[in-house]
């Protein structure tokens, strides 16, 4: 066995460049698996610990006002383990030195710290002192973004009254892992905060003595299997108190966003390793076939000497195992680093008390085994080919490559036209069918990775542009604490620097069709609206019907509604008798599941006229006008929220385009490894195999560049086919990825701009050319004249 060992080691070393390439591909596959899965585990573990620590609710109920006396009856509902009532209110924050009013949410907490449902984790300062009059605990993200600390003062406008409060502590809560303002999709730490006050203070300042408007409940483990029954009962029991929404944990905004991110990560954790390890196995297959062929004489000799197949097989499979082991171990390291990066990346979106990057030994072991499995699978064909040889046959040199025409030669008109050198290239490709196929597959997958990466960025950009350049054309949106009479529009119009004001009438509503239901809202828009333009995906504005509803296509699908169908509507405020309205049209909606209606139509539906719940403003303001405008808003007692669209757009752009850009660069690196690994491998193997042929061309007087060009032709045919296949494949991968991220909050459109396609193709070609440069370098340095007199 010694001989074989030595020869194997020598050949192994001489193929180190190629083996290195396979090791790199394996390593990246393992890194993707470990990196994405570790990140998923990190997030899941942090979430579970956090949810436990804060005693995260299973069900949320928002309602108008319920007397506390009604609660004991609810606690007895089968399946409810624990119930907590609290007071929740949207407030406006007035910070010293900040011009605009900032939206926030007020939540009541017990004055004395007890472990309650949806508890707080204090990150700085203290709990309330005594009855906590005029004291507030501020969500840490907001405090950080605005430089607030315990001891500072701030003003909250709640229910039209301005209150001065002293910050006693900073805290975070599990229900706001992903803290976004109402209607938003991204955290805006500087512009949205949660403000925790004592129950006592909340009751007094909001006229909620002995009452609550928010319930959070924990269910028994059994009830949690199917919370619908409990939810149904809660909503029936609370019906007299004006239920706005009953939300299970699965649908709760923060949890939903986290879950859909985890879903996306899980897809990546499955897809990326699969791509990489498959390519690695394919490339290894080519390489091992080659390596094994080099050993045939030794194998023949050993067989003649009486070594059995098992021994030989075990010996050869070592090479595959070694590659898997090396790539696997390297991948574990890389993957752990990748997880650190990714986990850190998520800290910008999700807030946990702690989000450490943990070492999951079981996962690593599994990843290593998978790497070994793929490597062994990849080696099998090559190894068994040699093992199968009869000793006598093995000792003879391999049969010369089969002659014979390739399939393309059956079309002489085509074959004659391509010219001599292309004929040569095509012959070589068709001769090595398996290898060529591997090359094409690798290049297709590499391209697909690039396409989906560029497409991801394109899609995100498109989503932002769609929303802010097409649908939402206002500069500001002001929403009010309650519906105002039509005069409010004229008042808004008079604010400094306002060019035009348009009214919106939004009504929270539950849509019901058979057994499908959805809690959302109907937005009433005037026919002459210029700032609220529901758009279809193709960029054409959708016309809001004078009668009936214009419904987000995805919602209609969810509710199983077609155009012309009637849908039952339960309006949250006012009259609670169910109404019926026809679905008059569909519209594409990226953010939320919007339902539009004509302003007058919706007013009539609610038996109102000219009710205004929000106005959208177009402005042209000097700095002074803007300051005056914002100051007036701060004083406006009816203001619930002010959204600065330019600011939202910037925030979204920065998050999606800048932060995701870093992520994209990383994925591009992954694409590069596939390209390089596979192309180099193919080229280097054929360089070695065709040494003699190369030498022949050189002796005939071909220059190095001309010999390189012969390779380039082959590389180009392979990779251009690969790229061509990779383009639709990438689109398809992106589509799959985006559908993972689809939820009620937003939908990722799948958009790839011409720039995205071009960049993908351009980068792919650049990788091909760089690999070609390396091949050319090898050709230039080759001692070709020695190959000439070698015995065949």
């Amino acid at each position: 066995m010694n001989v074989l060992q030595r020869k194997l080691r020598r050949d192994f070393l001489s193929a180190k460049g190629m083996l290195g390439a396979v090791v790199a591909i394996v390593a990246f596959g393992v890194a993707a698996l470990v990196g994405f899965q570790t990140t998923t585990n990190n997030l899941t573990d942090a979430r579970d610990a956090y949810y436990n620590q804060c005693r995260m609710a299973d069900v949320w109920v928002d309602l108008k006002k319920v007397p506390l006396s009604a609660l004991p009856r609810l606690e007895r509902i089968q399946g409810i383990a624990e119930l907590r009532s609290r007071i929740s209110q949207q407030v406006i924050v007035d910070l010293k030195g900040v011009a605009q009013p900032i939206a926030g949410r007020l939540l009541s907490m017990p004055s004395v710290r007890t472990p309650v449902i949806n508890d707080l984790v204090l990150t700085a300062g203290n709990w309330f002192s005594g009855n906590g009059a005029d004291e507030v605990i501020v969500s840490q993200q907001f405090a950080d973004a605005r430089g607030l600390k315990p001891g500072d003062q701030l003003h909250l406008t709640m229910d039209g009254q301005r209150k001065s409060l002293r910050i006693v502590g900073l805290g975070i809560s599990a229900e706001f892992v992903y803290l976004i303002p109402p209607g938003g999709i991204l955290p805006t730490p500087a512009n949205y905060g949660v403000f925790y006050v004592t129950r006592h203070f909340a009751e007094n300042s909001l006229g909620m003595n002995g009452a609550a408007n928010s319930l959070v409940a924990r269910l028994t483990a059994q009830a949690n299997q199917a919370p619908e029954a409990v939810m149904q009962q809660l909503s029936e029991e609370l019906h007299p108190y004006g239920v706005f929404a009953v939300t299970p944990r699965a649908q709760q905004g923060s949890n939903l966003s986290l879950s859909s991110e985890l879903g996306g990560l899980a897809t990546m954790a499955a897809m990326m390793p699969l791509i990489f390890l498959s390519v690695a196995a394919l490339v290894l297959n080519v390489l091992m076939t080659r390596l094994a062929a080099q050993q045939r004489v030794v194998v023949g000799t050993l067989k003649a000497l009486g070594y059995d197949n098992r021994t030989l097989f075990a010996h050869f499979i070592q090479v595959g195992l070694l590659v898997g082991l090396a790539g696997g171990l390297l991948g574990l390291l890389l993957g752990y680093g990748l997880a650190a990066l990714l986990t850190d990346f998520y800290k910008a979106f999700f807030t946990f008390p702690a989000l450490p990057n943990q070492l999951y030994l079981g996962l690593m072991l599994v990843a290593l085994c998978i790497a070994l499995l793929f490597s062994v699978l990849g080696s099998l064909r090559g190894v068994s080919a040699v093992i199968k040889l009869e000793p006598a046959e093995a000792m003879r040199p391999p049969a010369p490559p089969a002659g014979g025409a390739i399939i393309l030669e059956r079309w002489p008109w085509l074959w004659q036209r391509v010219g001599f050198f292309w004929q040569v290239a095509l012959r070589n490709l068709f001769r090595n069918r398996v290898r060529s196929l591997v090359g094409i597959i690798a290049s297709a997958l590499g391209t697909a990775l690039l396409v989906s990466t560029f497409g991801l960025t394109d899609s995100l950009k498109y989503m932002v542009q769609f929303q802010f350049d097409k649908v939402m054309l206002a500069d500001y949106e002001l929403s009010f604490r309650q519906d105002l009479p039509y005069d409010a529009l004229a008042e808004a119009q008079r604010l400094p620097g306002v060019l035009r004001a348009e009214p919106l009438f939004a009504v929270d509503a539950t849509f019901i069709n058979a057994n499908h239901r959805y809690q959302g809202a109907i937005i009433g828009v005037t026919p002459d609206a210029t700032m609220t333009v529901p758009n279809n995906a193709d960029g054409t504005p959708a016309v809001i019907p004078m009668q009936g509803l214009l419904m987000a296509r995805r919602l209609a699908k969810q509710l199983d509604l077609s155009i012309g169908d009637s849908v039952w509507i339960l309006l949250s405020k006012g009259d609670q008798t169910p109404l019926q309205a026809p679905v008059a049209g569909f519209v594409d909606s990226l953010f939320g599941l919007a339902v539009y209606a004509d302003y007058g139509y919706l007013n009539r539906l609610r038996s109102e006229s000219g009710a205004v719940s929000a106005v959208r403003l177009k402005t042209a303001q000097t700095a002074a006008e803007q300051a005056a405008f914002l100051a007036e808003l701060k004083r406006l007692p009816t203001l619930l929220n002010m959204q600065d669209m330019a600011e939202q757009r910037t925030n979204m752009w920065e998050t999606f385009v800048v932060k995701m850009g870093n992520m994209a660069n990383m994925l591009i690196l992954f694409g590069a490894v596939i390209f390089f690994g596979a192309i180099l491998n193919g080229a280097l193997i054929s360089l070695i195999e065709r040494q003699r042929e190369l030498a022949t061309y050189r002796v005939l007087g071909y220059h190095n560049g001309e010999v390189g060009a012969m390779y380039l032709r082959e590389t180009l045919v392979l990779n251009l086919s690969g790229i061509l296949l990779g383009l639709p494949l990438g689109w398809w991968m992106l589509l799959g990825l985006n559908s993972e991220y689809k939820n009620d909050l937003y939908m990722m459109p799948t958009v790839i701009t011409p720039g995205g396609w071009l960049w993908s193709i351009g980068l792919a070609l650049a990788f091909v050319l760089i690999a070609q440069l390396i091949v050319q370098h090898r050709i230039n340095r080759m001692h070709w004249n020695e190959a000439l007199s070698m015995k065949e």
């Binding site: 002659g403 040569v424 003699r692 022949t696 007087g701 190095n704 004249n785 000439l788 007199s789």
Partner: protein, 234 residues
């Protein structure tokens, strides 16, 4: 007939690998005349292939001059040497060195594609009596046929010199005789300068001039009477 095709002056070649120096060619002076068939004869390991490679522009001497086509090959860089081979030289090797994925005709084309003034590849195959095998791949041809393809390939570019390194080394005697006969005929028909390297002394009887290569040096003799290929054996 007396024009010089190749002239070497004080040609040295020493192989170096690490600290070990192996002097192979030690100060050779000789000429090869145009249009003649010359044989370089020497024992195995005498340095015949080394010498042939140097005058064929595949390798470089350690010192000395190699004049061919008006230039000293010793002074040429890699690019110019390649150009020299491309324009002036045809090679025939012991192991044929045909490209296995190309047909006989295409193997010849591989040479004519880049030559300045080539023959029609089909015509070259006709010269070696393989016109009916032009679409065969090397694996479908016998050793002798493969060697004839390689001769056609060498001749097809109309080179100044055709170098043959042990062209019969891998062939049986009768096939070898056929190949040698072909080389003699082609030399007569096309006036191509042909240099054959061999360790088999009888082959030298076919040549106009014989260059005896030994450890000591090189000496040239001329055959008054040339034998016919059919009459020699080795």
């Amino acid at each position: 007939m007396t024009e010089t095709a190749i002239r070497c002056v004080d040609l040295h070649k020493t192989y170096r690998s690490g600290d070990v120096e192996t002097p192979v060619l030690r100060g050779l002076d000789f000429e090869i005349l145009s249009g003649e068939l010359s044989v370089i004869l020497g024992a195995s390991g005498a340095g015949k292939s080394t010498l042939l490679n140097i005058i064929g522009g595949i390798d470089r001497p350690s010192s000395g001059q190699v004049w061919c086509a008006g230039q000293d090959l010793a002074t040429l860089d890699d690019r110019s040497l390649t150009d020299y081979r491309r324009r002036n030289v045809g090679f025939v090797f012991q192991f044929y060195n045909l490209v296995p994925t190309l047909t006989a005709l295409e193997n010849v084309e591989a040479a004519t594609q880049i030559a300045d003034n080539p023959m029609d590849p089909a015509e070259a195959l006709r010269l070696v009596e393989l016109e009916d095998r032009q679409d065969y791949f090397p694996a479908q041809l016998s050793g002798g046929q493969q060697q004839r393809v390689s001769i056609a390939r060498a001749l097809a570019k109309n080179p100044l010199v055709v170098f043959c390194d042990e062209p019969t080394g891998a062939l049986d005697a009768s096939t070898g005789r056929h190949v040698l006969d072909l080389l003699v005929q082609l030399n007569e028909q096309t006036q191509a300068t042909i240099v054959i390297v061999t360790h088999a002394a009888p082959v030298a009887q076919l040549a106009h001039a014989v260059l005896h290569l030994t450890m000591e040096g090189i000496s040239t003799s001329r055959n008054q009477q040339r034998a016919r290929a059919a009459d020699i054996s080795w």
